[in-house]
């Protein structure tokens, strides 16, 4: 139920952001402060999502082998690995850490 509410709310809101300029504001420009905010927000949110999803499970703080996976992903990214390699390395490192623990 909650998932469906999020689906409808996010779909409507996202479409509004996508379509605002093509439908209503053609030829206008964004105020520089809004443009700057839009450019910076993903960095803050994605960093938070990466870290919080590593150290929580079902909303509760849990430190486990996923930390090893995140570290392995970072190493893969430094090595310029493509996305698919990054996630597979993270999963493999986590699985290995659990098998050894």
């Amino acid at each position: 139920m909650t998932a469906t509410v999020v689906l409808i709310g996010l779909a409507a809101g996202t479409y509004g952001l996508k379509a605002a300029a093509p439908l209503l504001l053609s030829g206008r420009t964004l105020p520089p402060a809004v443009a700057r905010l839009a450019a910076l927000l993903p960095a803050a949110l994605l960093a938070a999502l990466a870290l919080v999803s590593t150290v929580t499970r079902d909303g509760v703080a849990v430190i486990d082998a996923r930390l090893v996976g995140l570290a392995a992903a970072a190493i893969a990214l430094v090595a310029r690995a493509p996305f698919i390699v990054v996630v597979i390395v993270a999963a493999a490192a986590t699985a290995l850490a659990r098998a050894l623990a």
């Binding site: 689906l7 479409y15 379509a19 093509p22 990466a50 919080v52 996923r66 996630v87 999963a91 986590t94």
Partner: protein, 208 residues
């Protein structure tokens, strides 16, 4: 960003968060914004409120407004065409469209990229969600739960080349971590937006 593996990763994340396969597919059809879908599903799966999940997704997607502004001069036509084309407004379609010089080719590039990614994204979301929904202990045994933070890190990575983005990510990430033990789920993610205060102003090009 390779679309197919990212689509599979989203499907897996959605199933891991407790969404039905049809719900995962509906996100990809109707929201069609990779990182925002990922964020919303993650907040939801962590026990965050619907409002927190929607807000996290929309804050990530504020950039769609900027994409729309940069594409709007090329997306000309009757309102219903502009309305349909707008659904394809994502990073890749805007990047490819904007790389062309003439309006007609900007629109063509935008539509080709948008449609091919829309098809791939939806197909692979379904594959990921359906594959995981049939599983049981595979999530922890195979470390599939670690693919979610890894996917967020991979999305973040290219942004870290810029110093302002790095400061934003550092402050936002640390603020969120600090709040995990003391706030309801979802709140730390939204609170990370404080990080933009550390981003500073984009340096103006020097004037002669």
């Amino acid at each position: 960003m390779a679309v197919a593996p990212f689509g599979v990763a989203f499907g897996i994340a959605a199933a891991d968060a407790g969404l039905a396969t049809w719900q995962a597919s509906a996100f990809s059809l109707f929201v069609f914004a990779g990182s925002a879908q990922f964020a919303a599903v993650q907040v939801l799966g962590g026990g965050g409120s619907a409002l927190a999940a929607i807000a996290a997704g929309l804050l990530l997607n504020l950039r769609s407004l900027a994409f729309g502004v940069s594409m709007s001069t090329a997306l000309v036509g009757p309102w219903w065409k502009r309305a349909a084309w707008s659904q394809l407004m994502i990073d890749e379609s805007t990047a490819i469209g904007s790389a062309q010089t003439e309006h007609q080719w900007r629109r063509y590039g935008y539509l080709c990229a948008g449609l091919s990614i829309f098809a791939t994204w939806n197909l692979t979301t379904f594959v990921g969600a359906a594959a995981l929904s049939s599983g049981g202990d595979v999530v922890t045994t195979w470390g599939i739960d670690a693919t979610i933070p890894a996917a967020f890190l991979a999305l973040l990575w290219p942004r870290l080349a810029d110093a302002g983005q790095r400061r934003t990510a550092l402050v936002g990430g640390m603020a969120a971590l600090a709040l995990v033990p003391v706030t309801p789920p979802g709140v730390p993610i939204l609170a990370s937006t404080i990080g933009v205060l550390a981003g500073g102003r984009r340096r103006e090009p020097a004037r002669a």
